[in-house]
Amino acid sequence: MAAHPTRRVVLAAAVTLPLAAVSGCGGADVLATPPRPAADVDLLRSAIAAEQLMIARYGAVTGGATAAVSSALEPLLAEHRAHLAQLRSRLIVPAGSPTPSPRAPAAPAGVPSAPGAALAYLRDAEQAAAAALLGRLPHAPASLAQLLASISASEATHVPVLGRMAAR
């Protein structure tokens, strides 16, 4: 039995651990005592869900926006898609396991229909998302903390862009 399981193995173990625990540890002894990797997976899942929600918010706003506003939002939306792809690439799910990745969240409610208010809504959502990621940093391993901090900084840079668009 490997004394130092690789990160990938540990993450995979975290995904399957709850099932093993429920079934009374019938099988896989190697997976019985992973060194507390679950925080990684929970953090990734919540960060993924937050990005999905943000992308859904952009979708709700662009759906009712002019072509000019939609195209101005596209670079910001593209960055959120990049965030989501990067977060997903770090979530290792073993082949054949029940898909635990979160479903796309329900369409966000309460999106204002007036153009300026809709952009201000996105601005506020970006600000809140950037702050929420900072709050998650203490629990993250170093490498994931760096990714979350970088995403938080990216979202923070969206705030003044959206604020200027909303004020137009």
């Binding site: 995979a12 990067q86 690439s89 290792i92 900084a153 990216s154 003044p160």
Partner: protein, 153 residues
């Protein structure tokens, strides 16, 4: 301050790296500002002051942890030649990108207060860089080669 064992050498090294980047930014903004006028110059001045404030904070953080802060170099070789306002803005972007990378090093430190400080400074640097660049980026501070493509098990 945080725990009885004191900061490890990795924490001190990360703080020193951030301080060195701030020293370089303070120097570089001084050069950039000389080639700017009007609103751009005002922005450069505000950013220059922000870097001085953070430099002082980092020096205090190092001293409070029993470390001697690294000193600024007498001069710095600029990464780009600056003769025009556009080149001055380009220099500011490069300075911010280097500062951002140094702050990501602080984010890797386990002490929560230092990690948070690094993340907040990364935000501040990304905001300044976006203003100079005129656009945003998806992963401030992270080198492109650290970003993995999708992986499959």
């Amino acid at each position: 301050m945080s725990g009885s064992s004191g900061p490890g050498p990795a924490t001190i090294a990360a703080l020193q790296a951030a301080l060195a980047a701030e020293h370089a930014a303070v120097y570089g903004y001084g050069v950039a500002g000389a080639y700017l006028t009007g609103a751009s110059r005002a922005t450069a001045t505000a950013d220059w002051v922000a870097h001085q404030v953070t430099r002082d904070t980092l020096e205090a953080m190092l001293r409070s942890r029993g470390a001697q802060p690294v000193a600024a170099a007498a001069g710095y070789q600029l990464p780009v030649a600056v003769r025009t306002p556009a080149e001055a803005a380009q220099l500011a972007v490069i300075l911010e990108d280097r500062v951002a990378a140094a702050y990501l090093g602080l984010v890797a430190v386990t002490a929560a207060a230092i990690r948070r400080f690094g993340a907040e400074q990364l935000q501040a640097s990304a905001l300044r860089a976006a203003a100079w660049r005129g656009s945003t980026v998806a992963f401030p501070g992270l080198p492109a080669n650290s970003l993995a493509g999708p992986r499959h098990v």
